[in-house]
Symmetry: C2
Subunit: 220 residues, 2 copies
Amino acid sequence: MSGLILALDVIDKKRALKIVEETKASLDYVKVGYPLILSTGINIMEKISELMPVIADLKVADIPDINELICRETFRNGAKGIICHGFTGRDSLKACIDVSREFDGDIYVVADMSHPGASAFFPDISVKICDIAMELGAEGIVSPANRPERLRKIKKRIKKLKLLSPGIGVQGGSIRDAIFAGADYLIIGRSIYMDKNPKTAAERIKKAIEEADDEEFPDR
Amino acid sequence: MSGLILALDVIDKKRALKIVEETKASLDYVKVGYPLILSTGINIMEKISELMPVIADLKVADIPDINELICRETFRNGAKGIICHGFTGRDSLKACIDVSREFDGDIYVVADMSHPGASAFFPDISVKICDIAMELGAEGIVSPANRPERLRKIKKRIKKLKLLSPGIGVQGGSIRDAIFAGADYLIIGRSIYMDKNPKTAAERIKKAIEEADDEEFPDR
């Protein structure tokens, strides 16, 4: 059964908390990023985590010393998981994973991205990033559903690691693309929080995920 | 004449402001990153910018929409410049540079990094990142002095773009390496803020930069 992660890319605190309150029955995690954290302060994660476990999508991409400080501060403030980049290499990613163990937290590693520019450098290194992530013991991999052929390749490579997949809806990927490729969690933002009624939007998406999960895909 | 940028990688607000106050006569910019911003709040940049122009070293590395939000929030809060990644591709970087124009701010693009893991993926793409940065009109490039041969190659490529160079001191590069390779600004952190007397440490480094600048290097 694939799960649903809300990408909460709003920058107003009240609105953020209201959306989580309304949609939480359909969600598995809430993903927050720097726009919300910088606008409202890092303690927003504590507030949200009272309602729903939080994944901090920080795309951490610095030298090991700085990655360690960023991850420690983020786990301390209520995050259950953190999304980090892997293209900075093994030692940078290891610094994140070492800190995650102190907090019983999870590190998810970006292996590909949903925007057009990601095609410049990611295709050549996605598989190597996955290998480093597996070797170091990351919890999962992030790769978008709007590049389903690359997503399937990544899923085959990472085996039991969790696959988190954004790029659905506004960015062009479909729920079926993601589930067909083997995504464990679908990351969906604007299709929920931009809807006039986020609650029913989340319910509708949750139902579509369940239906796609029930379909029989010949390749799976 | 090469300049000096203090990498202010401390996480205590009072200590951060005290170090800037003490060292500012030797500095051109103060570079702050997420550890300090997350610990103290984004308004720390306003405070520091009353003393010295701030470069926010956020290693911005997300999709264009999110990069735009991050950069806007950062310039709004007093940053003069922002360090962004280029490996996320042209559109992600363009989103940062477009926002910088609204604020008359500067974008610096990471072309290489100082830690061992950076050798996994950066050497193959550094030059392409520089080309994208030049084409889009970035203010400068960040590349470390502890890889002087790669630094020289980058300097030749970027011509008039500013070259900012970390990786000096604790990370193994020397002031002469950086200046010999053509760095316009040296980014130095621990050798200053870890010193018992940051003020005299900064003065000593400033003097060493001036002396190296006065040497005649056959290649320059």
